[in-house]
Symmetry: C2
């Protein structure tokens, strides 16, 4: 009999019903493995079609023995896509049988990317935010603003959201979700300072820029706040960043590559810890109520490979997807 | 409307009817682009599940602007698979729209890998073998032995094949193909020397080994012979290799990585030329009747990306494959 693989479209992946809580748990297990040096994750190479070098298609391979997961995510980011009515991020993930190397599944990676990125933010917050955090500021209320809110809401007793965005339509969708699905109080703010000062947790999730727009100034971030910089350091003035007591990332090798070879993260604080070090207890998380703590997670292939076996198992159990001959 | 992608199984890919002659032409165009520095091809990273480190799954991304092709091949090699009745090489190729980054197709890569590898051998032979070559020796008559014979037969007036293999069943299949499909005279030899001496072209296509078995000794290779070492340097004693007048490869960066970082190609002759340099005329091919010329091509992602647009176009034209929502 011919070997068969399972194909899952973006709708199929979402239809598996995998919850954010389950994704956070899987990503945490993955970071524990990574923190203990038990994940194989080579650098992610890519190609850059088109003019200007802003388009990318990256190969993100990883192997997590403890989770019996190996595969690659092949993900593109084209900044010009939204103007064409197409998503910025697109791609597929191939999930392999670690025993034979044969592909077991091909699945759309957009949903997984959105969810696991937010899960990593929440995981950083688990170790770096105050556990009673209830007030959150979201700057840029798109896909990542929304999924980050969802993920933080799993781990923290959130009550109130200060939402900042320059696109009213995006803010409306976000507000509807926060109020009616997550049952949170939302206040839309016109001054970005009001989505930072007075918040326990802040998520910046705008466009990633090599030259930061530095909207957030020194003095805006209160003592005791945790910030997840989903858009790298784009939102922060250097003076504001230098108020950080702890500046962390998900993977130091990749962080240094982005900093030294690609020009991001210039004049940022030194990295205090990798997320794997926090999860394994090799480095302490928050140590005082008044610390300003930051996570600048770049996203790693391990996260995708930690999540995709759960998607695969649920899809098989629920008869979701299309079986295809190899 | 949802974006759709085309899925092509291994049978679908073969059913497109793309010919070896067309594949050689596409691979030659790709090497011309590469020789002129117009291909983006980062190093191929991979993961290595299982004990011992012999298993691999590699990501092979490439972008060829002139051929409007970008994508990745995610290909595994598990030496233990044949004992389980599974192929050694398995994998999928994702072909992307260079304008939007969206995937256009996912296809099985086994057929493409087998064909394009042989096409590169024949292309090296086009520049390094004598044009009137009619006698060929094939050492190891498996998939690569067979496709290499097919590819050489496209470019050279082959008449006679000396076939050496230790597996009688494999030799029988090979012989049947060579005689009845390619109409060549086949002589099965028990002494490997008889598949080397007296031949115009020799292809070694056995298992790739870090410690070469060195079956072929100094003095076996006649003057004027071209050798394609599909299995790297595994077949050759160092003395035999040192009789090479020209030792070439497909990509020097990758060759040096295999040599310096992975332990292959120890004590081999210095590389005279990359295949792209031969195709673009930056280096001369064969310059004298009596030169012993060698190609040790390792296989590059560019070749896959040069071939897959042709497969895609033919499949669409012939209504082959399965359309799936992204």
């Amino acid at each position: 009999m011919k070997h068969e693989i399972l194909y899952l479209s973006q709708d199929d992946v979402a239809a598996t019903g995998l919850t954010m809580a389950e994704i956070i748990k899987a990503v945490e297990q993955g970071f524990e493995e990574m923190g203990n040096g038990r994940v194989e994750m080579p650098p992610k190479p890519g190609v850059h079609p088109g003019e200007g070098g802003d388009n990318f298609i990256h190969a993100m391979p990883a192997y997590i023995p403890a989770m019996n997961s190996a595969g690659v995510k092949w993900v593109s980011g084209y900044p010009g896509n939204p103007a064409k009515g197409l998503p910025y991020i697109n791609g597929l993930l191939i999930f392999n049988d670690t025993e034979t190397g044969l592909p077991k599944a091909v699945m759309d990676c957009s949903w997984i990317t959105a969810m696991r990125t937010a899960a990593a933010s929440a995981l950083s917050a688990k170790y770096l935010a105050r556990s009673e955090s209830s007030i959150i500021g979201i700057l840029a209320c798109g896909v990542q603003g929304t999924t980050n809110l969802e993920a933080m809401n799993v781990l923290f007793p959130l009550k109130k959201v200060f939402a900042y965005d320059t696109l009213p339509e995006q803010t409306a969708t976000f507000t509807d979700y926060a109020q009616n699905v997550l049952n949170l109080e939302v206040e839309i703010v016109e001054d970005p300072k009001n989505a930072v000062s007075g918040c326990d947790i802040v998520v910046t999730s705008g466009p990633i820029l090599k030259v930061p727009h530095e909207t957030i100034k020194a003095g805006w971030v209160d003592e005791g706040t945790f910030i997840s910089c989903v858009d790298f350091d784009s939102y922060f003035s250097r003076d504001a960043l230098n108020q950080a007591d702890k500046w962390s990332t998900d993977n130091l090798t990749q962080y240094n590559h982005y900093k030294d070879d690609m020009g991001y993260f210039q004049n940022c604080p030194p990295v205090y810890a990798e997320l794997g070090e926090l999860v394994t207890g090799k480095k302490n998380g928050r140590e005082a109520e008044n610390e300003r703590t930051f996570a600048a997670n770049l996203g790693v292939a391990m996260e995708d490979m930690a999540v995709c076996p759960l998607i695969y198992d649920l899809a098989k159990k629920k008869n979701i997807g299309t079986w295809l001959p190899l």
